[in-house]
Symmetry: C2
């Protein structure tokens, strides 16, 4: 059923129906007639037809590298919470960590289809910059800081610094590091910088033999821990850039009979649910993923209200959560 059929059914003009759905001048009786007709027929105006005219889709594109990650799903949940409250829906694009798909989905959303975009990317390139600045709709980046764009990010450096310091202050002298791809500025580079800064501030020098780069999963953490422990220098604590990596490292230690925290302390970042039930409960840094999603969504909404307003960067702080894996008594 289209608007003119419906108008006939309701005994009013097409314009009146349109006004009903768009808050125009309309007498009470017509309003009532239309409401009654809706009750009878279940009529609902076509979204696409409306969009042709007023350019509003009430849809926000969310581009993410994968779904089955606790941090990402928490962010997305935050996004959907806030956008839902404002009558927006989510167009989800899962790039499956594929650089090309990330680029092509940006292309896809460039003109069309969505009112705004929230991007959860890990690695940013020049092509990103080019595409992002060509976007016709507002964009907010969550989880990374990218100059010249609206961002909601975490204090990754501070988080790594805090966790490393915690271990150093418990007496660790030969700290190891298992990090993530440094191309990923937040989880890779900044967390490494935080680790290194903590060492320097405590009178230690980072030892490259005790520093490894892992992938974002447990198995990789396991492998890198193995590599570190097969070297000459034996670490007495390991800072891992993510909880998943830490879990892998912990698994290796348990297998080898290396005691946690007596022989080696382990600290992670992310405060994942898993960390609490690990072989040894894992000390970690809680990042406010849900809040990041919510704030990202709010930022997008405000951009939607006043286009071209100044770019803002919101950095969220963190909480250190200490559990058994760093609970040494000695100072």
């Amino acid at each position: 059923m289209n608007i003119s059929e419906f108008a006939k059914e309701a005994g009013v003009s097409v314009s009146a129906v349109s006004r009903y759905f768009n808050d125009g001048y309309l007498s009470e009786d017509k309003r009532a007639q239309i409401e009654a007709a809706i009750e009878r027929t279940g009529y609902e105006p076509s979204r696409s037809a409306r969009t042709v005219q007023n350019k509003v889709t009430k849809l926000v594109g969310v581009i993410l590298p994968k779904l089955s990650s606790e941090s990402i799903s928490r962010v997305t949940e935050g996004i959907s919470r806030v956008l839902g409250q404002h009558g927006f829906e989510l167009l989800l694009v899962n790039t499956a960590n594929d650089y090309n798909r990330e680029i092509s989905s940006l292309e896809l959303l460039r003109h069309n289809r969505v009112d705004g975009v929230i991007l959860l990317a890990s690695v940013f390139t020049e092509l990103h910059r080019t595409l992002l600045s060509k976007m016709r709709v507002p964009v907010v980046i969550v989880g990374q800081q990218f100059k010249g764009f609206n961002c909601v990010c975490h204090n990754d450096l501070g988080a790594a610094y805090a966790m490393t310091s915690l271990m150093l202050e418990k007496g660790a002298k030969t700290p190891a590091f298992i990090g993530a791809d440094p191309e990923d500025k937040a989880a890779g580079l900044d967390r490494r910088k935080g680790f290194e800064k903590a060492l320097l501030d405590h009178g230690l020098t980072p030892d490259p033999r005790l520093m490894e780069v892992a992938k974002f999963n447990m198995d990789s953490g396991y492998e890198k821990a193995k590599q570190i422990f097969s070297g000459r220098v034996r670490p007495d604590c390991i800072f891992c850039a993510t909880d998943n990596i830490a879990a892998g490292a912990m698994l290796y230690c348990h297998e080898q009979g290396i005691r946690i925290p007596e022989d080696v302390m382990i600290g992670g970042v992310g405060d994942s649910r898993m960390g609490r039930v690990l072989l040894t409960p894992l000390s970690s840094v809680h990042l406010h993923y849900g809040t990041a999603g919510e704030e990202g969504a709010k930022m997008l909404l405000s951009q939607l209200r006043e286009r071209g307003s100044v770019h803002r960067v919101l950095q969220l702080e963190f909480d250190v959560i200490e559990r058994e894996s760093t609970m040494r008594t000695k100072k």
Copy 2:
């Protein structure tokens, strides 16, 4: 830029441009002219305008109760994989376990906006049936079996039966059960039935004092384990309807010095990543969540091709994964 401006820019007629994007008769030179003009201007036809005409949105609505669950995110990943390959995108609706939002999102997607719907619901009511049968677009239900509709589900009963049997065959005589809401037919009711059937087939009778219903999280599993162990009858194995519940139960046992698997075996369902790194690695049943999502998407695509084809139900099988938590030697 709209189609007529673009047509002028390319030096061809509006019809030619439309034909270019819709595979009609078109000479090679015009095709080339249009391609060149696209290169210059970056023109792309408006989705909404096309939709008004041909009623196709290339959008599939996915309704789910939450995002931050491993099983759900794996299913969704499977869905997005298959739909993406066929040029569809996902309109995600997160109902946050809110019954009303589930209903209202079905209403929302009823006429408009999407070409099809994939529903991951936990509890089905009569209202669901009414709404679902009123849908103008094809619907596929994933994770539950709901008579008269297209479904992709797991063999929940078989999975529970297999895991329980595994423990019984290792000599367990007083099995306990921590299940989920029986309103949830798949994870609640069927898994309980599987447990009970395994007992009966092994000459045992289910003992209501050893059966509890938990929420879908660790804390609840912890509480219910506590409740069971504070009763008179002490179990020698616990079958838990989900890995999360099992993790909570395990946590309680460790705290109380109850040894796993020596004093009590524990088995779960879902084969979550967490299970592998628990205090005691957890035996579980692997359900093919990713495949379920993929098959659901394929089922929807085939419905989209031939509307009104017969309803089908696809039940996926499972794999029992044995880990330490049930590794007793004695028969």
